[in-house]
C-alpha cells in the first residue's frame, strides 16, 4: 500500500504514538458510544467483561463518563441523530485519545450506512485509530483490536493489490517465460 505520509511526518507520528502508549501504560479506560448499532456489537462488547474473556485482567476498563476515558469505542454506522452526540463525546475526552470503530457498520457503513439517515462509518466523522470488522466481531477480535490500539498486539491483516494473471503465468511456466507478456505491455 502506498503511504501518503512523508518520512519526517511518519517519524514524528511514531514518536508521538510511543509517548501516548507510555502515557496510557498498561491501563486503558473505555467510553462506549452506540451510534445507531443493532446491538449485536453491544452484546459482544458486554462479553468482554465476563469471567471468560475478562478484559480487566489486561488493564482495560469501561467508564461511564467520556471525561474519564482514554478510548472511544464506537458501534453503528453513525446515524444523523447520533452524529452530534458522538462529536460532543469526543470533544469531552481529554487528550491523548483513541477512537476504535467496532463492527462492519462502524468500519464501512455496512448494510445501513451511506443513506439519507446514516453516515458510511465512523471515519467520516472522527479520526479512527483502529478498525475492528465483523458482524459482530467476536470478543477475541475485540480484545485483539483494543490491544492493537495500545500497541500490545500485532496487526495480522494487510490489504493488498495483486495482479492475478501475472501470478498465474508465473505459476504455469518458469519465471522468464511468464514475464514476457507483461513486459511487452510496459
Amino acid at each position: 500500500m502506498e503511504d501518503p505520509l512523508d518520512e519526517a511526518t511518519r517519524e514524528a507520528a511514531a514518536r508521538l504514538n510511543e509517548r501516548v502508549q507510555r502515557l496510557f501504560g498498561h491501563s486503558l479506560h473505555i467510553r462506549h458510544v452506540d451510534a445507531g448499532s443493532c446491538n449485536a456489537c453491544e452484546s459482544e462488547i458486554k462479553l468482554l467483561l465476563n469471567p471468560y474473556y475478562d478484559v480487566q485482567r489486561l488493564g482495560i476498563f469501561f467508564t461511564t463518563s467520556p471525561r474519564h476515558a482514554d478510548l472511544l469505542l464506537v458501534t453503528g454506522p453513525v446515524t444523523r441523530a447520533m452524529e452530534d452526540p458522538l462529536r460532543q463525546t469526543y470533544d469531552a475526552m481529554p487528550d491523548p485519545r483513541l477512537v476504535v470503530a467496532v463492527g462492519a457498520c462502524a468500519c464501512s457503513g455496512g448494510i445501513f450506512g451511506a443513506s439519507a439517515f446514516a453516515r458510511a462509518g465512523v471515519a467520516e466523522v472522527l479520526p479512527v485509530d483502529v478498525f475492528i470488522p465483523g458482524c459482530p466481531p467476536s470478543p477475541l477480535t475485540l480484545i485483539h483490536g483494543l490491544l492493537l490500539a495500545l500497541g500490545r498486539a500485532e496487526q495480522r491483516v494487510h490489504g493488498r493489490v495483486q495482479r492475478v494473471r501475472e501470478d498465474r503465468l508465473l505459476q504455469m511456466f518458469s519465471l522468464g517465460a511468464g514475464g514476457t507478456r507483461e513486459k511487452e505491455r510496459g
Partner: protein, 143 residues
C-alpha cells in the same frame, strides 16, 4: 490498618496478565476471515457467483479497463474483497464453484487503516485477438 492494606496488596502481587499470544482454538463451525485463492478464481472467465450472493456487497467485481481490440468482457477486471463490509455469513464459500473461497478460523482482523481491510485482485482478461491466435489454448504463449 493502612499497613495491613499495603501488606495485602504486596502479597497479592500483579493480577493483570499479558495478552495470550497463542492462537485460540475456535469452536466447530466458527466462521472467521474468508480468504480468496485468486489463482483458482474464475472471475476472468465470467463467473460472479460469489458477488451475486454477497449480502453486504463485501465482494465487488468491476471492469476497470477495456481492450481496444476486444470490448465486451475483455480487458481488466477487479475483484475486491472488503473485510470491513464482510459479515462472515459464508454464502460466498458455498456459492464458489471452484472452492477458491474458504472460511478460516482467523479472528485477528483488527487493522489500523481502512485500506488494510481491502484485498484487490486484478484479473487481466485476454483480448479477443489472443483468443483467435489460440494464445489461451497454448497457456498464454503465442501460437
Amino acid at each position: 490498618m493502612v499497613f495491613s492494606w499495603v501488606r495485602k496488596g504486596l502479597r497479592t502481587g500483579v493480577l493483570t496478565t499479558r495478552y495470550p499470544a497463542v492462537h485460540e482454538q475456535m469452536p466447530e463451525g466458527f466462521r472467521g476471515k474468508p480468504v480468496l485463492d485468486a489463482n483458482r478464481c474464475l472471475s476472468d472467465r465470467g463467473c460472479d457467483a460469489c458477488v451475486q450472493v454477497c449480502l453486504p456487497s463485501a465482494l465487488e467485481l468491476k471492469q476497470v479497463a477495456y481492450n481496444d481490440d476486444g470490448g465486451g468482457s475483455f480487458g481488466e477486471w477487479q475483484l475486491t474483497l472488503d473485510y470491513a463490509r464482510c459479515i462472515a455469513c459464508g454464502l460466498c464459500v458455498t456459492a464458489c464453484p471452484t472452492g477458491a473461497l474458504r472460511m478460516t478460523d482467523d479472528y485477528e482482523l483488527a487493522a489500523r487503516h481502512r485500506e488494510d481491510l481491502r484485498v484487490v485482485n486484478m484479473f487481466e482478461v485476454p483480448t479477443m485477438l489472443d483468443n483467435l491466435n489460440g494464445r489461451e489454448k497454448n497457456n498464454g504463449r503465442p501460437a
